[in-house]
Symmetry: C2
Subunit: 208 residues, 2 copies
């Protein structure tokens, strides 16, 4: 209960500070309003270009452009002017949700929802009696090296081809969000609503 | 016990038929010799070029070249001559192990081994009282589109650059295998050896 209280406060604050991807706010509020369920971190999916000075060293990376919606060739081309050091990657990543079930039974229901909504790479990330962390994830990842140390090694034609592919993958993975929402509505009918959610933020809660 | 018996028979047959990646045979035998633990499917990591007629439709895909070791520019260039239909991807994938723990406690130990051996993307894939399926996986994935419908859209220079990157990622992910093996040896000391393993295939078992 305490962990959920903290998670809810963090979520509501993040929403107010515009730090939550706008196209999944309603879905996150829905999920968190369910008894025994809360989210810890989520992303609505993205396409972008990133510089990685040292492969795998995530903290040192910097995004040249990052959007939760398809990007245009012009936006991508412009962003590459800022490339300086490290390998440059065009990346597409699907929506990812990290959701806690407050017991194993709920955890398994969350896992099943992910899979049946078409998020084929849904797994359990952590397990304990009161806390089962499920990651709802999919397979539409693209990781395309474009060059390195400021030097672009691909033609405009290839850049456009890759961007179209990245955008297509993002659209496909996002197209499952309505099904995910529908399945979480069913789960809410089954498990019931969490009074704590409504207690902590009545104004926001009124919208869902 | 029955599930492990079947899994072991499948493994030994696959080894005899040369269907198991040679560089992880010893590790797989070690893991399966541990009481309460067995593998279901694993891959030692690979680099290759694949054609996907329809993105995401795995059964329809075909590999133009696939190796468990670094590939050369010449090998890659030659393999592309066979490209006909669909999007062509250069892919790098790390070693992946699917391992069953016969109860939740063992499942958690397997999960911990994956993470502490540097396989940062280790998760639980399925959960039940007698069967916890753990996937030991890492983050070094590359998915580079090279062209489509037989037409290659990248220069030789870029192909060489991407292949070097793919090979580097494969080497990095494989470099964790010795640590994984060391951790499984410790687990064997802790949980003990499985008589069933030695009963089913004495000649092979003698080597580990």
């Amino acid at each position: 209960m305490r962990a959920k209280r903290e998670a809810l406060k963090t979520l509501f604050t993040a929403i107010k500070e515009c730090k939550v991807d706008s196209d999944i706010i309603d879905l996150l509020l829905l999920i968190n309003s369910i008894k025994g369920v809360y989210t810890t971190s989520s992303c609505s999916g993205r396409v972008g270009i990133i510089e990685e000075p040292k492969i795998g060293a995530k903290p040192l990376s910097r995004w040249l452009i990052k959007k939760h919606f398809p990007i245009t060739f012009e936006e991508a081309k412009n962003s590459l002017k800022a490339a300086q050091k490290g390998v440059i990657f065009l990346k597409a990543q699907p929506p990812i949700f990290h959701i806690v079930g407050e017991n194993v039974e709920i955890g398994k229901k969350l896992h099943e929802i992910g899979l049946s909504s078409g998020f084929k790479y849904t797994t359990f990330k952590a397990l304990s009696k009161e806390r089962v962390l499920v990651e709802i994830n999919s397979t539409e990842y693209l990781t395309v090296p474009l060059g390195g140390d400021g030097r672009i090694l691909i033609s405009d034609e290839y850049l456009e081809f890759s961007i179209n592919l990245a955008n297509e993958m993002l659209k496909r993975s996002k197209s499952r969000l309505p099904r995910l929402e529908k399945n979480f509505k069913k789960l809410k009918e089954e498990l019931g609503e969490d009074e704590l959610f409504y207690e902590l933020n009545p104004p926001m809660a009124r919208y869902i």
